[in-house]
Symmetry: C2
Subunit: 394 residues, 2 copies
């Protein structure tokens, strides 16, 4: 079953089209965290690391995410934030291609991915260059100067999907290493990590996987590479024997080598519940509903809100589980929508984003959302000064 809104705590009359930014609360989370706090931390205290399996959870949760993104067990581990995981992947990838100096990405990549690479190559001081091209120019820019191709599969602003399979093939053909960011893919579209043969992937769990604010990130390493990579962030939990407290770092022979420090046990408890909701979800079936929802939204908005211009690919196969429209006054429109119970978000300079998550969004929700949007535009409700004030977090 795909639609399972009853298993989420979503305020009544709210249409939540922002699961691409922060997923809603799965109902089971609250009791699970209370149990983790009271019966595990409170009762077992330090023994929780062994007796409640806290130490193994980054791997166990990794295996569950592997199921969702088409990877094998033992190839994904949880921890840290996506920014840190990007750093781990790219720094390791650079050591695998020591003669080359270009990291290729696209201008649509999420800024933190680009920022982390800027900080990395700045600190390495070995003449590396971060080269960004327009998303449609990536394939043509993969040449034999390129050490690493780092891309986000689904563009956070437009929802445009890169062809992971094809670009990874081109990357490997050019002798480069591929790093994929699945922030807007995991839980949103079918991903075939094993099949793509990509080298590294990273992702977050608080968007389509609904694990809550500050939920841990994950990293994937292709199984044949795991034992060969050199972790720059060589923390003790990536050591082959963390509790031997040896003076020198020796990386674990498994994906554990991508672990760094102590995992966030309370956030992992939430993640565990959130993943329960995916146990019976077929990602192909979910995708089919997602496409129906985004197609319906585009059709309705284009028919009823001519002021807006589609900023997402029109062809569903090129589009993730979100739809974006450009509008000069997009920020104010989004504030007015939120005020009227339809939550989307805004991304500079003029993009209104709407995420469609089949787990809790129905076709009725889509129609109702467009009703509200249409009235805000028709009556110019967005002109109210209260919708112009820019908030800290957009």
């Amino acid at each position: 079953m795909i639609y399972k809104k009853a298993q989420f705590d979503i305020p009544e009359n709210l249409i939540y089209l922002d699961g691409n930014s922060l997923g809603p609360l799965p109902k089971a989370v609250s009791a699970k965290i209370t149990q983790t706090v009271e019966s595990e931390w409170g009762t077992q205290l330090i023994r929780g690391w062994n007796d409640c399996g806290w130490m193994q959870q980054p791997r166990q949760l990794g295996d569950r995410i592997a199921n969702i993104v088409g990877a094998q067990a033992g190839t994904i581990v949880l921890g840290d934030t996506l920014s840190i995981k990007v750093y781990q992947a790219v720094s390791a990838a650079l050591t695998m291609n020591p003669q080359r100096r270009v990291i290729l990405s696209d201008t649509g990549n999420f800024p933190t991915d680009l920022y982390m690479v800027q900080g990395l190559i700045n600190s390495l001081d070995h003449g590396y260059e971060l080269k960004t091209v327009a998303p449609q120019d990536v394939a043509g820019a993969i040449d034999e100067q390129v050490a690493v191709v780092m891309l986000t599969q689904v563009d956070y602003r437009t929802g445009r999907i890169h062809d992971m399979q094809r670009i990874t093939e081109l990357t490997h053909k050019a002798g480069a290493i591929s790093v994929w960011d699945l922030a807007h893919s995991a839980g949103a579209i079918p991903v075939e990590l094993t099949h793509s043969a990509c080298d590294f992937a990273v992702g977050c769990t608080y968007k389509y996987l609904n694990a809550g604010p500050g939920a841990p990130a994950f990293i994937y390493v292709r199984p044949d590479l795991i034992e060969t990579i050199t972790p720059a962030l060589s923390g003790w939990l990536g050591h082959q024997a963390p509790f031997a407290f040896e003076p020198n770092y020796t990386p674990a022979p498994t994906i554990d080598r991508m672990r760094v420090g102590t995992p966030s046990v309370l956030q992992m408890a939430a993640l565990s519940c959130a993943l329960d909701l995916f146990d019976d979800v077929d990602m192909q079936a979910l995708r089919q509903v997602s496409v129906q929802l985004t197609e319906l939204f585009i059709e309705q908005v284009e028919a009823r809100c001519p002021e807006l211009s589609l900023a997402s690919p029109r062809d569903a196969q090129d589009r993730g589980s979100q739809v974006s429209f450009g509008f000069e006054h997009g920020y104010a429109v989004v504030q007015a929508l939120i005020d009227q119970g339809v939550i989307g978000d805004f991304r500079a300079p003029n993009i209104m984003r709407f995420g469609f998550t089949p787990l809790y969004i129905s076709t009725d929700d889509v129609i109702r959302a467009v009703d509200v949007l249409e009235s805000i535009l028709k009556d110019k409700i967005w002109k109210d000064p209260k919708y112009q004030t820019v908030k800290a977090v957009t």
Copy 2:
């Protein structure tokens, strides 16, 4: 008031001498997290970042920790794990001293600090050397080759305290940068970061600060340095305008530049409750009680358990809030103690560690703990094979 055991959820009849590893559960945490999950995440969803102040918490909590470790407001920010914070501090410190190639530490430092530096200098590939000397030899080893002196103030095995003031002075006199790890200091002993004039400090919040398994770490930067440092881990939340989504990283002019990715909101909720317990605690008064407890424990153990040899400094002023004893069969003794309701822990090769936290440990607890320890040794209870099996996490 120092002793406030009633404000913790500690199982009856348990004597918890492992707050130096994972602090116990403050009673208020469970309700606070439920509220954060249900009324913030569940109700506000994405709006929580603004309306519930999630985005500001790493700074606000940092200011509260600053109060505990003798720092000014605006110099500490929460996030990530201690390993990551070590990496940030040392990588920034190295750029401040570009002509030098030695990072000096001691053999008693916690392994992850050493491992993170090993990974860092290995990836930089600029001829850096991590030099470790015995703790007592650190002062004499600070010379003009040294770029960075990185030390943990309180030794995780022995509880030995470095003289932060004096070593920082020597460090600066030699033209080097000081990085202090406060993992076993924050909430345990008075720390005077401002007064010490040290450059960087890092610490964790799940030990003496009782913020729970996986609670975030913190980093301190001396205020006059903040605007000058170059973050290697240049994540979007360290950007001067994260929500402008600019293509290039420009660090925030404040301590925010040491932020990386999305903060762990649920863990921060627990931390917030945990810090409430420190609001009325005078660290000098806490230290006085801590010394009384450790003195009593040493006196009692030495009188009643002659098999054990003190592995901590005998002079209280050189010792943190823990006491360690060496014993060949220490691992088994600790297991037997745990079995009998006295929780300490073991660190290879032969160290039994006992933490004394005045917030919830009384002199009665100390006496009762030694009663149990004495009987385990006298009756050789530790010889039971069930106490020999080594667990994953020690």
